[in-house]
Symmetry: C3
Subunit: 304 residues, 3 copies
């Protein structure tokens, strides 16, 4: 977090960053479409002096695990030392990391995890939610409501890990069909730790009441085909974050969304663009957070 | 135009240009396929020291205005300060410019406009058509025939604005089905200014006679499906620019085409590659013109 | 080869290479999908200081020779001085080279040739196969077996040229349907030179026996649709390089594959990843070989 502060300062003052990745090959390998994550990693790596190569792979050519490793070996042999990777299959970056000589950064894998997104979410909260009474910063005593399709969301999963680790009182909320399996996880606690339990509820009012942060998640139309939702309109009526609903939270509660948004479905346009929204700030924080991650990894490489 | 002269000189002498975009994030956002425009903007921006990011967006994911603005906000938050943008919807860059904190350059929007193309066309004419009798350069007294599918051409529309502003006697020519609405515009004058009237005709001989410039436009096969053309062969016979037809123009008339060409349809191969053709020069001028545009915008940013 | 040695040394020591392409526009134009070739050319050109532009062209928009030349003229006009090009049509880069003002590098054309691949293959063999008895390095006295779909392989065709020129005893081996026309070529000798004859056989044991190098080629599923293969499984059984089959070759024979591999079809996984495999080394050698090629071409440009 403090490294990201330093990077944000460099970006804001339009100063050149220290070229800690100079001469280092960073390959951004995207097996799924990505705009915000790809662009912010590319900008971050270039600011640190890296040689960046983009590779967009169509999912169809890589249906077997062997092929994925073959692609990784190819990129490594061609000079990739840091591999930023997104893949539709949960766990793919972990498989790759077992065989890759350099460092692998997970830029999103299936429904499993999107750790750099949750770090930038945490960084955004840190800027707005001071610690009461001094001491190291944490989310202790803060209530965070995550509302939407948690079942299919790698962002939600990473945030359940990250935010409970930061001490937050996390509430996962959505229709029962989109919360499958979360209740058992929430009651045992993340990592099996009882102090990292989170609440799971279908009651949106209960989730929002007195929340410090309201994080909404994208609802995908494909969920209707699977019978998990009857209609987007019905979802919007029952769970969409409107101004009225937001009033249940604390008056200055932060409104967050990992993007891309379906305005009018999971979030009303006036909330997304309203005074409590930090959605654009989340994207902006993507660059310094990813600079910090890349820079810290570079430090472990050189022993600096 | 004179800034473009300076840039052309730098490119021709293979000198490094002044890095007026050093540290500035230029994002090239293409919602439609583009080779020549994208490449020349990328080359121009890099020569000026910019940090260039390419984003190719499939049209399908951005069917709503909200999504377009969402994408723009994402790119801005990730560091885009200059946004070069092509979109299938007329007016899209103007909508974006109302909300974007930096500068937006229209790299082609629907059938509406392609202003940097018409500036490079003007720049190309300026190199070949001196002013008779001194004074500031203009196209006064010069006849320019634009032949083809003007109805669906953003290049034509931008050139009607640009060339009438430069004082040319402009003739728009094609089958009646592809000139729809132009007659009223031509007779009222561009911007409603009577001194900027242009002629509209289906008579290709009248358009070409004594012309100083013959600009042909791409005919797309899709027009036949829409019933606007019966066949490409019929179009080629009636309006294609052949050596015989070109003989109606002045002996040293310039032959231009914004590309990509359908040789043998709107233009005969021997005309496209003949001594009067400046088509390749048009593409080459794309780099210094776009360097000039980017550089002048950078100047307004810093107050230089 | 010795220039590639110098480049490999620079890469291995993580030293910056001499920027012999500084200010030179390198455009990588891919009409067919490519990961390893595109990435290694991009990395190589950037290491030498070039301004690199990637252009991925969908095959559909360039079905006519005129369009290909039009694209080439566009890229040249926009500043391309070195054009690295892959195209599905055999001979396309040669057509382009007749009209392009700068240098064209064939990065694979149809079934015809992939010369930079065969150069890196030769470079890889040179690192492992010393000359017996001194003198300039060659493959004289070495047996190389190329096994697979030689009919449709540009890699095989380029290697038949390159390896016979280097003096190797080359054996082309596969099912008769995938060797069509090779026998006549082999018996007349490459380039009509009798000392450059190669053997053609359907007998995989004969091809492998006492070989110094076993090069396998990718088998594409499309061949079954064409009736040239009955099944991948049958091919694997008859021609796949397994540990048992490899035992026919010399004990330290090199195993090579141009990638991407179908493990379990043309090559068993334990062979591909076994101690005799230099497949990853082939990819790694792609960067210094392409640096050497680019650098030597730059030398001819400046007369250096």
């Amino acid at each position: 977090m403090s490294t990201a502060d330093a990077m944000a300062d460099v970006v804001a003052r339009r100063r050149p960053a220290e070229k800690v990745l100079s001469g280092i090959g960073v390959t951004i390998l995207m097996y799924e479409a990505s705009t915000r994550t790809r662009v912010s990693f590319e900008v971050a790596a270039k600011k640190l002096g890296a040689d960046v190569v983009n590779v967009a792979a169509a999912g169809s050519s890589v249906t077997k695990g062997e092929s994925l490793l073959d692609t990784m070996r190819t990129l490594e042999a061609a000079g990739a030392e840091l591999l930023v990777m997104r893949h539709a299959t949960s766990g793919a970056p972990y498989l790759v990391a077992e065989h890759f000589g350099g460092n692998v950064i997970n830029a999103g894998d299936g429904w499993h995890a999107h750790p750099t997104q949750s770090l930038l979410d945490l960084y955004t909260m840190r800027a707005h939610l001071p610690v009461a009474g001094g001491g190291a910063w944490s989310l202790r005593g803060r209530k965070v409501a995550i509302v939407g399709d948690l079942l299919h969301s790698r962002v939600a999963r990473s945030n359940l890990w990250t935010l409970t680790a930061a001490g937050a009182d996390v509430w996962a909320c959505g229709p029962a069909t989109l919360l499958h399996g979360l209740e058992a996880w929430g009651s045992s606690g993340v990592g099996g730790a009882s102090e990292r339990r989170f609440s799971v509820t279908t009651d949106v009012d209960a989730a929002l009441r007195e929340a410090d942060v309201v994080m909404t998640l994208r609802i995908q139309k494909e969920r209707m085909a699977g019978g998990l939702l009857s209609s987007l309109g019905e979802y919007a009526g029952a769970y969409g974050i409107t101004r009225e609903r937001l009033a249940l939270a604390k008056p200055d509660a932060l409104v967050m969304h990992p993007g891309p948004m379906n305005e009018g479905v999971e979030i009303a346009a006036d909330v997304a663009n309203g005074p409590q929204s930090v959605i654009t700030e989340q994207v902006a924080n993507g660059v310094p957070i990813r600079m910090a991650i890349l820079s810290l990894i570079a430090g472990t490489r050189t022993g600096a």
